[in-house]
């Protein structure tokens, strides 16, 4: 019984331990992360979204408009529109259209935050700091709750992954790779606290 209690306590304590606790402070230019910011002049992606047993597929068009807002339109294969969002130049977010079934605050908020992460938007560098472990550099940008974290190799040349994290663990993990003229070929977003993934693969036009 005593062993059971002891092992339970250890398990609970281990559960409270932050996966980021072993990171060491690092020095370097925090602005370096900017080079991974995608430059969506105009890009078309095949999109697959899996959310709690539902599968949506279609085309996601991302375009930077002359006023430098970034517009994202997701339609299915027969042209039916799921959403039309814009990230505005002043750091805002505008919903031009969202299909009734998706028109829920938590859904829109989640999508907005996910794309803010991969687009490296709304990053307040003043609250950012660098950390490291044996194999990676961590560009950490504090948010109201938790932080955004961009993980590169030690040289800062390859973006390994991006995370939206609570102080203890990642809530969302994302990858973005194979850039051509600033546009990534592959983007993947995966939520850790519920079943929700977004997979984007660029289509040449």
């Amino acid at each position: 019984m005593r062993y059971l209690l002891l092992s339970s306590c250890i398990l609970i304590l281990a559960g409270c331990t932050s996966v980021y606790k072993n990171l060491q402070p690092a020095t370097g230019d925090i602005n370096y992360i900017e080079k991974f910011r995608p430059d969506f002049n105009v890009a078309l992606y095949k999109a697959e979204v899996d959310v709690i047993g539902h599968h949506l597929s279609g085309l996601l068009l991302i375009k930077t408009l002359p006023d430098s807002s970034v517009r994202m339109v997701f339609t299915n294969e027969v042209g039916f529109k799921f959403f039309d969002f814009a990230f505005t130049p002043d750091g805002g977010f505008k919903v031009y259209y969202v299909v009734k079934q998706m028109d829920k605050k938590p859904v829109i908020k989640t999508l907005k935050k996910d794309f803010e992460l991969v687009m490296l938007r709304k990053q307040d560098i003043k609250t950012a700091y660098l950390a490291k472990d044996d194999s990676s550099l961590y560009y950490i940008i504090k948010k109201q709750k938790g932080f955004f974290c961009y993980v590169t190799d030690k040289g800062g040349d390859t973006l390994k992954r991006m995370e939206i994290a609570s102080p203890r663990k990642p809530i969302v993990q994302a990858i973005m790779k194979n850039y051509t003229n600033g546009i990534p070929d592959t983007i993947g977003i995966s939520h850790k606290n519920f079943s929700f993934t977004i997979a984007l693969k660029r289509i040449e036009r």
Binding site: S57, L59, L61, V78, F80, K81, D84
Partner: protein
């Protein structure tokens, strides 16, 4: 009140302008309307199968962008539809009465059309157009326009659910053989999805196996 009249005037004027710009004039004479309806329905009734190529254009007006898809289209009476997209990637959609099958790469899914209102509507619109039953659909009000070479049926949704999806749907019909050449689904945002049908083959035998959902 003045604002209301002005708004109504602008709406009516823009509708008239749209039809006129494409060389269409409204068919207001009841006898002409009835004659067209009779001929269109009679020809559609003789249509057992349609095989065609299609070009789909998604026009995003605010973005000045057009997303183009291409593929093959098969229809068989009474309610069998197969759309095979080759571009921008392989995607197969079969609608067999109330059931739907999708093959996207290696991923296959089978759905009931009853739970997918939007596919149910798109299927209904296409089937109503090719079967000539479009005039009997209570979900839309119908207006007819005529040009030198063809007709255009303008379908305006009546029900709220449909109004959320479409402003109206234009069906372009050639005078030569009363076949549907284009379906334009206009959204309230100003965006539209246009389906162009080319290389049409009428009443060539199409095996049921093409529409089978296993």
């Amino acid at each position: 009140m003045r604002k209301l009249i002005l708004t109504l005037f602008i709406i009516i004027a823009s509708q008239a302008l749209k039809a006129q710009s494409a060389g269409y004039a409204p068919v207001t004479d009841a006898a002409d309307f009835a004659k067209f309806k009779e001929q269109f329905t009679a020809i559609a009734k003789q249509t057992e199968t349609i095989k065609s190529d299609f070009l789909q254009e998604k026009n995003l007006s605010m973005l000045s962008e057009k997303i183009t898809s291409k593929g093959k289209f098969w229809f068989k009476k009474d309610n069998l539809l197969r759309m095979e997209f080759d571009e921008p990637y392989a995607y197969l959609m079969i609608l067999n009465k109330d059931n739907m099958y999708i093959k996207d790469g290696q991923k296959e899914s089978r759905l009931s059309l009853k739970s997918n209102k939007i596919f149910q509507q798109i299927n209904k619109i296409i089937v109503n157009c090719v079967q000539g039953t479009v005039f009997n659909d209570d979900d839309f009000t119908v207006k007819l326009y005529e040009s030198k070479s063809g007709y255009m049926i303008e379908l305006s949704p009546v029900t709220k659910g449909l109004k959320d999806f479409f402003k109206n749907i234009d069906v372009v019909i050639t005078k030569k053989d009363y076949s549907v050449t284009t379906i334009i689904m206009n959204e309230n945002s100003g965006d539209d999805t246009t389906l162009h049908f080319t290389n049409r083959e009428l009443n060539t035998p199409i095996p049921d196996a093409l529409f089978a959902i296993k």
